[in-house]
């Protein structure tokens, strides 16, 4: 990174989110735990985008939900604007939610079909602000323009919009209270290919214009590369690699990151002819009983005996590049 370090907006330290698996007749007794997020630490500076990538079930969405305090984390600390929010009671969380918003993946299920687009976008204003209905209307019009929708569309219902337009409505709703921080959870994955670029550009424009900070959750490594300043790669509840986008894509160090990158198809037969793939053995194991030691070792092409023994910490290797692998830098 160059220039003076910017202010830290969000810092997560040793976050754990373990969900109980209930058993017994009354289903009160947890017999096992799903370690959805296990000892995760990262920080996001103001105005930057952290891309969080990984395959389904790796815990990336759970991290987002812990940060928004939709879940109460099992342990660890979450500092938002220098304030610890991991253990705040619900009453103190509510006002913070104006500052933190969420953009969902599926624009078809995240909008109430019985409300007009205008009323969906106005909803946060009704809850959080004392504005009059006239002021609210003005603000909704402004938000519509901001996300590239005609204000005259306010009276329409979600089904009258295309997928891309619905995602714009979802974005307008997230922006209603002037948040500082937005979690984008797979915001373009459900959209058609020709629409994805429109929404990606919109998110970038809004970030620059409004000085937003993003946690960008996605399984699409190409989109994450395009939009992120820093990137964290997750596997089975843990961050295995964390660095700047350039370092990650030009110099991936963790064997999992390397396999992931090699598996992404490139739309060019000339390039594909020359490309080698790293195929991983087996499937992602269950987070209920993750493998001992490094939880990637059963599938890792570079695993050695020591990998089964201890879970590697995320350590700095230089160039602000952190990796959780004992084989790196041997």
């Amino acid at each position: 990174m160059s220039g003076p370090a910017k202010e830290i907006l969000l810092e997560v330290k040793n976050l754990r989110m373990h969900f109980p698996i209930p058993a017994g007749v009354l289903r009160r007794r947890p017999t096992a735990w799903v370690k959805a997020v296990d000892d995760v630490s990262f920080l996001i500076r103001k105005g930057e985008t952290l891309g969080l990538v990984g395959e389904s079930g790796c815990g990336k969405t759970t991290i987002g939900r812990c940060v928004l305090r939709i879940y109460a984390p099992t342990s660890g600390e979450i500092f938002f604007q220098q304030k610890e929010i991991g253990r705040l009671p619900e009453s103190e969380i509510r006002p913070l939610r104006r500052q933190m918003q969420l953009i969902f993946q599926d624009p078809f299920s995240s909008l109430d079909p019985r409300q007009t687009a205008g009323s969906i976008v106005a909803e946060p204003l009704k809850i959080h602000s004392p504005a009059t209905s006239f002021e609210r209307r003005e603000r909704v019009e402004e938000l519509f323009r901001l996300v590239g929708l005609e204000p005259s569309m306010m009276r329409r219902y979600p089904h009258e919009f295309s997928g891309g337009q619905r995602q714009r409505i979802g974005i307008a709703r997230a922006l209603a209270m002037n948040p500082a921080f937005i979690i984008c959870d797979e915001p373009v994955s459900a959209l058609d290919v020709s629409i994805q670029a429109q929404i990606t550009n919109l998110l970038e424009d809004l970030k620059n214009r409004l000085g937003l900070t993003y946690l960008f959750i996605s399984h699409d490594l190409s989109v994450v590369r395009h939009i992120s300043d820093q990137v964290a790669v997750m596997y089975l509840g843990r961050i295995v690699e964390l660095t700047s986008w350039r370092e990650l894509y030009e110099n991936p160090l963790h064997p999992y990151t390397q396999a992931l990158l090699s598996a992404v198809p490139i739309p060019d037969p000339f390039v594909e002819e020359e490309r080698a793939r790293i195929f991983l053995e087996g499937d992602v194991p269950s987070p209920v009983n993750p493998p001992a030691g490094c939880n990637f070792h059963p599938r890792c092409p570079r695993a050695i005996a020591g990998c089964q023994e201890l879970s590697p910490a995320l350590v700095e290797t230089g160039h602000e590049h952190r990796v959780a692998c004992i084989r790196v830098g041997e």
Partner: protein, 325 residues
Amino acid sequence: MHLLEVKNLRTRFRTDAGTVHAVDGISYFIDEGEIIGLVGESGCGKSVSQLSVLQLIPVPPGEIAGGQAVFEGRDLLRFEAKGPEMREVRGGKISIIFQEPMTSLNPVLAVSRQLTEAMELHLKLDRKSSRARALDLLRMVGIPDAEKRFRNFPHQFSGGMRQRIMIAMALSCRPKIVVADEPTTALDVTTQAKVLEVMNDLVRRFRTSLVLVTHNLGVVARYAQRIYVMYAGRIVESGTSKDIFGNPKHPYTIGLLRSVPRLDETRKERLVPIPGSLPDLANMPGTCAFLPRCTRAGEDCRREPWGELRRVEGEHYTSCRMEMG
């Protein structure tokens, strides 16, 4: 003669909003041992065209309004949808793999039974030999401990394993053609890579032909020899994989290729999207369906009806008249 040649296929659906011409006169072919890609976004007609060839369209509201699908010298569309000839082809000589393996496998039948059922029907095998073949197939698609897992139920497998079972099922009756409709869209990227590789190896080994139906340009770039690009019910460009990716001619193909960020290119400041949104198929203007989103449309495009495919060179065709000069 081609193994399958589809000519001027038209499929429409009657809806409350009007008649939707889901497939609006498409022609394509596939030869033995070939992998072709059918690429397009939602509603372009790529899946409906494949379901039409197998007469799997619900009638009504759907209707195959015209065209031919000549397979081994016979027009499949002339067969009764539920008649014996169609049944012999469907699942036997032409099989289909769907996107979501969990909804296409029967949750209350063990995979062993689901595999042997079609073989007993189409290959007239007895219980014992169909079981032996089913087990072989599971090993071939890379299910670990196939003997042990043979009697398991679909929910006991992961998504990637389920899709491999679907591949085993699709190949079980030694089909001539396998249609794979978004076979890896529901899978994670590392699993996707493996499933595609398994499929590619198997079709090569058995000289099966494969129709890869997908919205993912990357997937077809690696595996397909020829590609058909569809938009709003029609094929707008076709050619070899190298024609389509190396020298695209239709503004839609060019737009699609430009709009996706690529891992192997320098990072751009901004992506270059295709403006506008997908057309409403119940309200088609008669002119080129891509016109409202096209940045290089000319006077002719606004005046003339949607163009037919015309040859660029060799096997490369496009419907765009602007490219023809």
